[in-house]
Symmetry: C2
Subunit: 344 residues, 2 copies
């Protein structure tokens, strides 16, 4: 399995996912500006992978600072944190990872800057390792919910490519496959950026897990035909009440699932839950470049002289979510509060 | 307004809609085989336009027959009818138009073949003229149902390009616009063939009707935002109970509309109703070439080594349909039987 993000010889190595599935290209980011560009331009995407990338990006920026005092070091580090925080507004993991690195720096303020640089890099490594471990836990809890022989619909890519490895929604699918549940996966292609067609289908094909690619508007058809027994998606941010921001189209999938009596699961590390916001209404939705809708591979596919909308995410209200599968177990949306108590 | 299909100097002139919106190319089909290819390869699409094209295709085939007797003439005409009938399985207008031309021939069997050729061409012209008149009637009945200032969502292209002119769903939209209802149109791009992005958006832009293009998976998002007050789509075949076959994704739009309490209208000439089938379960669904999903403009956009599904249509059960807007008026699905009685 390729890594979406890793630390490689003093650089942040990103798989340029915009080139998939026809090309597998890695970019070694040697400065934080390139890391920020990589997040913004979707070389790396998926909330957990974005968080890991940002952590490494700060560690990379730290390497270049020549400061004698902590205060001086920290002051020089902050602009890089701000640069990274400004790349994508919706994924909470981005802000969470940046805060964690900043707190790590503060916690070790008595260390000399050169030692601190190593500590920050170690912390980024820890975030990556923990992410993979969390995904394996999510996978185990999720697989228990999936009936043998199920058709499982997923939307976008919440896979190894969206995380440190193994994946969240695809972690559930991988885990179910590994324990021989004999599932069949349906992958929504996920317009406009086609993460389902380009990434999820590619990732599952690499692991020999059977996958059928459909366009987003076919999901209802296959639910009605009885081919889909459950839905599993990732999350970019989950509010305290369970409302979940995820890739545009997730909300529609959840409504279709409800109408067909099919369980709808969200799989995400517990760090995706933002207890600072009471409901999904407070989650900012990123509007992306309109050429993502009007062009494909540089070719114009839509009429000229029209308006375009391109919200990158939508919010699925908690009432449509059967359970949120985390590294701490699967919870009904109204039970998330238990995680807050255990986090405190 | 360009014509999707017309009779031009002894040929069937089709607008090659696969080239839109970047190129406006007409093909003069000089034999029935080219007409059949034009239907199969989607140069012309949309149930009413397919019917008109098939009628002209038979008239064109008739021109080339040199027979002395009616029986001989008719026997030579049948293979062309069969060829055209085999192009697309779902649109009832195709079979309806072919039957109408065959019946016209039978009704004039005492005419010499050369006179009959003119009669068949006149009948094709009549089908085209009647289609436009029906669309204007549909538009008028439909516009009455649309509230001033509404956001109107449409899926695929049921416009001038899908008909003899003016359109069915887009006829309703055009008519509402003409009577100053100040509507704002949302057009689903309609993967995989992008009829919404390429055709509906283009057609409405030509008429200066405001249109916002969205990907199919954004419809729920904009309904939740309160931007969409009703949905209007076309139909490829309507069963006696009101179940409606239309472009893949229509069923999902109908469910989303129901969940948001938004009326969902089907606009179609009454000839689209197939009283020979009791319910939508009996409507065959065409499975189209998988490269429509995996490639765009010749470029591969999906992973290799995976399964693909490409049903071209789905069936929306009558229970999701607020009204079926026909040239005879708007009917609740359970009221369609009135049209059967008036047709008998």
């Amino acid at each position: 399995m390729v890594n979406a993000v890793e630390w490689k010889e003093g650089a942040v190595r990103l798989l340029d996912q915009t080139k998939l599935p026809t090309e597998v290209v890695f970019v070694d980011c040697k400065d934080v500006e390139t890391v920020a560009k990589g997040i913004k331009d979707l070389w790396v995407r998926g909330a957990p992978a974005i968080g890991i990338t940002a952590a490494y990006g700060i560690a990379l920026a730290a390497m270049k600072i020549s400061a004698k005092s902590f205060d001086d070091f920290y002051k020089q580090l902050l602009p890089s944190c701000d640069l990274l925080a400004a790349t994508r507004p919706t994924a909470v993991n981005l802000f969470w990872a940046i805060e964690r690195i900043k707190e790590t720096a503060q916690a070790h303020r008595t260390e000399p800057p050169d030692a601190l640089k190593k500590i920050l890099l170690e912390e980024a490594h820890a975030i990556l390792r923990e992410d993979i471990a969390m995904n394996r836990a999510i996978g185990k809890f999720g697989a228990a919910l999936i009936q043998k022989g199920s058709g499982v619909l997923t939307h976008c890519n919440a896979g190894a490519l969206a995380t440190g490895g193994y994946g969240t929604a695809l972690g559930v699918i991988r885990s179910a496959w590994e324990v021989d549940k004999k599932i069949a996966v349906f992958a929504d292609e996920t317009r406009p950026v086609l993460q389902g067609a380009r990434l999820t289908a590619w990732e599952l094909a690499q692991d020999q897990i059977p996958v059928t690619l459909i366009t987003d508007n076919m999901a209802g058809f296959f639910m009605k035909q009885g081919k889909i027994q459950c839905c599993v998606v990732g999350a970019d941010r989950i509010a305290a009440n369970g409302d979940t921001a995820n890739k545009i189209g997730t909300y529609s999938v959840a409504i279709l699932a409800k109408e067909h009596g099919i369980p709808f699961y969200v799989a995400a590390p517990s760090s995706t839950i933002d207890f600072n916001i009471a409901s999904g209404d407070q989650i900012p939705i990123e509007e992306r470049n309109h050429t993502e809708v009007t062009h494909m591979g540089g070719k114009q596919i839509a009429a000229s002289g029209i308006s375009i909308a391109n919200p990158a995410f939508d919010v699925t209200p908690a009432k449509y979510i059967t359970a949120i599968i985390t590294d701490k177990g699967a919870f009904k949306p109204e039970e998330l509060i238990k995680l807050k108590i255990s986090r405190a």
